[in-house]
């Protein structure tokens, strides 16, 4: 730890790590190796991210049963790399599958913030898109995109499991277009994609 009597404390120091890191970074930038590595590794990362989207194992309402059916043996989302994880720290995708009530608005934002970058959000079902049949309710937010930025909307009440798998496919295409990290200076528009648009 930070004992004064240790001989190798200088190698553990934060300052050393930062300095070495800065020097290396400048060298790589100057010799353009960083760009090459960025392109190659970026492509590999992009490929691996879009081929293995891990959604959060969160079921809010009815669409959760269709999500479960999509993961079951008939529709089998797992063959596309979609594997549900229980902890938000290990997920890429937040699949919002139900209406967000005022009580749940805070927890879902907290779940979203706990997910590490790069992350995406899929709004599944009418309730998550716009409040759905409960748009007049006193307790339901009009769509999860009032609190979280959404990438793909999947309409349906509930959407069939095939539609959910198509939604993951659209997200996959979006990841190709905008790159691995969403702030990577995407050239094209960042409009969300609606399943069934083409």
């Amino acid at each position: 730890m930070d004992g004064d009597g240790q001989n190798y404390s200088v190698f553990n120091s934060r300052m050393l790590v930062d300095t070495v890191g800065d020097i290396t970074d400048d060298a790589l930038k100057a010799s353009r190796i960083k760009d090459v590595i960025g392109v190659l590794v970026g492509r590999v990362f992009n490929w691996s991210q879009r081929k293995s989207l891990f959604p959060l194992h969160l079921g809010i309402k009815c669409c959760a049963l269709e999500m479960a059916a999509a993961g079951a043996s008939r529709f089998d989302a797992e063959r596309f790399g979609v594997f549900f994880r229980s902890s938000p720290r290990q997920c890429d995708v937040l699949l919002v599958n139900g209406p967000i009530s005022k009580k749940f608005a805070d927890p879902i934002v907290r779940l979203w913030e706990q997910m590490p970058e790069p992350k995406w959000c899929i709004a599944m079902g009418e309730c998550a898109i716009s409040g759905g049949p409960y748009f007049q309710s006193y307790n339901i937010l009009e769509g999860v995109d009032t609190v979280i930025p959404v990438d793909v909307y999947i309409p349906g009440c509930p959407p069939r499991p095939e539609a959910l798998i198509d939604g993951f496919d659209k997200l996959r295409q979006k990841i190709i277009r905008i790159g691995a990290a969403p702030d990577d200076g995407a050239p094209e528009s960042k409009n969300p994609i609606i399943v069934g648009d083409d």
Partner: protein, 219 residues
């Protein structure tokens, strides 16, 4: 054939209970026959004044063996006039269930033949209506200690409609968030739904004017 409780024995039991209850003051009971798909069913329908409610509740529990509180509904009638501005409707059932007997250390499941039930064993449905006059804080006596099933039902009625239950221990919000402002009970008629008067089909078919009232929250 599947065995069911016969309608005649249910009607007889309902009538005997209704006549027994009508003899209490402040209470008027009658048997109403309801349609139920293809079978009619008989319900004991009781109108009670709110001062006599506690006494009626104890009588139902002790003398008539009503052991199951099914639902408590609160209704707000703003145009009901001075007499019936609020209404609390209780639904009870008499199930007549006791723990299955134990013989020689083995439990014998109670398999009753529904066609043979008579008298006070017949399952019955009881509906009690209490009309409250016009007031800003409607109150009814709580029956939390008589039927445990009334506990959460009363909490929900207070949470959504605003009818207070005197003597209820641990009243709190159960369905709405805990931070809901005090005095906000959404099922009262003065609270309108979102887009209440907005005829979307005619005024704004494509939804351009419609903005979510939660817009502007953090993104």
């Amino acid at each position: 054939m599947g065995k069911i409780v016969s309608a005649s024995s249910q009607k007889a039991a309902a009538e005997s209970m209704a006549s027994a209850l009508s003899s209490m003051d402040g209470v008027s009971a009658e048997v109403s026959e309801r349609t139920s798909g293809t079978n009619p069913r008989n319900v004991v329908s009781v109108d009670c004044a709110s001062d006599n409610w506690r006494q009626l509740a104890e009588c139902l529990r002790v003398e008539h063996g009503v052991d199951y509180c099914s639902m408590i509904t609160g209704i707000h009638w703003p145009e009901g006039g001075a007499e019936k501005n609020w209404e609390v409707v209780y639904h009870f059932m008499r199930m007549g269930i006791s723990n299955p007997p134990v013989v020689d250390g083995m439990v014998q499941p109670i398999i009753t033949d529904p066609t043979t039930l008579e008298g006070t064993d017949v399952p019955l449905e009881i509906e009690v209506r209490i009309a409250l006059p016009e007031t800003t804080d409607p109150k009814v006596a709580s029956v939390q200690d008589i039927w445990v099933g009334a506990d959460w039902n009363e909490k929900e009625t207070w949470d959504l409609v605003g009818i207070d239950f005197e003597g209820h221990v641990g009243m709190r919000r159960v369905l709405q968030p805990h931070e809901t402002p005090v005095g906000f009970h959404p099922l009262q008629k003065q609270h309108k739904l979102r887009y209440h008067d907005f005829e979307e089909m005619y005024d704004d078919a494509q939804g351009f004017l419609r903005k979510p009232s939660d817009a502007g929250k953090i993104k």
